[in-house]
Subunit: 197 residues, 2 copies
Amino acid sequence: MSRWQPDARGRLEQAALELFRDRGFAETTVPEIAARAGLTPRTFFRHFADKREVLFAGQDDFLALFIDPITAAPEDTAPFELIARSLDAAGDYFPHDRRPFSRVRQTIIDAEPSLGERELGKLATLKVRLGEVLRDRGVPEPAATLAAETGVTVFHLSFQQWIAPGEDRSLATIARERLDALTSLVAPGRSVGGTSE
Amino acid sequence: MSRWQPDARGRLEQAALELFRDRGFAETTVPEIAARAGLTPRTFFRHFADKREVLFAGQDDFLALFIDPITAAPEDTAPFELIARSLDAAGDYFPHDRRPFSRVRQTIIDAEPSLGERELGKLATLKVRLGEVLRDRGVPEPAATLAAETGVTVFHLSFQQWIAPGEDRSLATIARERLDALTSLVAPGRSVGGTSE
């Protein structure tokens, strides 16, 4: 325990998740998390502001992930293509080896209403930011807000499928399938094709 | 006070709304609402289970409004057209003379987080029910859930616009404009036309 450990943050995350799952979020304390990871509370607080942040760390990275591909896109990129690029980027943020973590995390969030609200708040913030960045690019209303809402809805539904039991396709594949389904829904006969088979 | 009053329910609603707006939802009691309407608490409870139900009465009617046009539509009606019919029906439920009530109601809900959650819960229930009725009609996944989510998103955004200051178009017109914008977004060049100019 005294020798240098290469991934304190990862171990704290793992320990917290196991305790939240087994004992409940409210019943778990920071000293317990630290002890299970073989570390001190002081080390815990170097990585996370509080126990909730184990589940919600990286919100700025999360937002940037969706926003950056939009700001980086050529000026004449169509709004719906901007949303597609956002969702592709989200796929990189949630690689396959992150899926077990995401599944357990969702179980914990579903069990604790205040965490569910925090999660919805995160998605609401994403909608607002996406709407802003689309308007900054000159997308008019109501298209900008519709695109932002639709993008986050597709992401949310895709993410739910990504963590569903037995699902092993990538998040980007699932999101593309849903964008494709949305296109078929709104404009039948005009499928963008490619991923739905 | 003693003579028969033709619209006790409407007067209770009006009195409650004014008190919620002026004093706050939490600070207003049922006896105060009844007194302001010139009625007794006993009469209040014949119309509403509690003061919150003044703001959320008619949930079954609200759901039926969206669901009925879908179950009544010809078998080969496209899913997106089913959603459009739902939104048209919603327009009838929110006529122009209801707009002042809806505006004050929204102010009250925005001021009280528990009411905001109740409102979101109502929309979440609508999403679930719409998804069920679309699947019952044979719409496959993920199209059914996407259509339900998209329909409720368009309704919600349209409703926000309908109660915006200075807005005087009908809810059905605003919703059609947004469905049109969604079509243009998802399939550029394939506008359904008609309402956006």
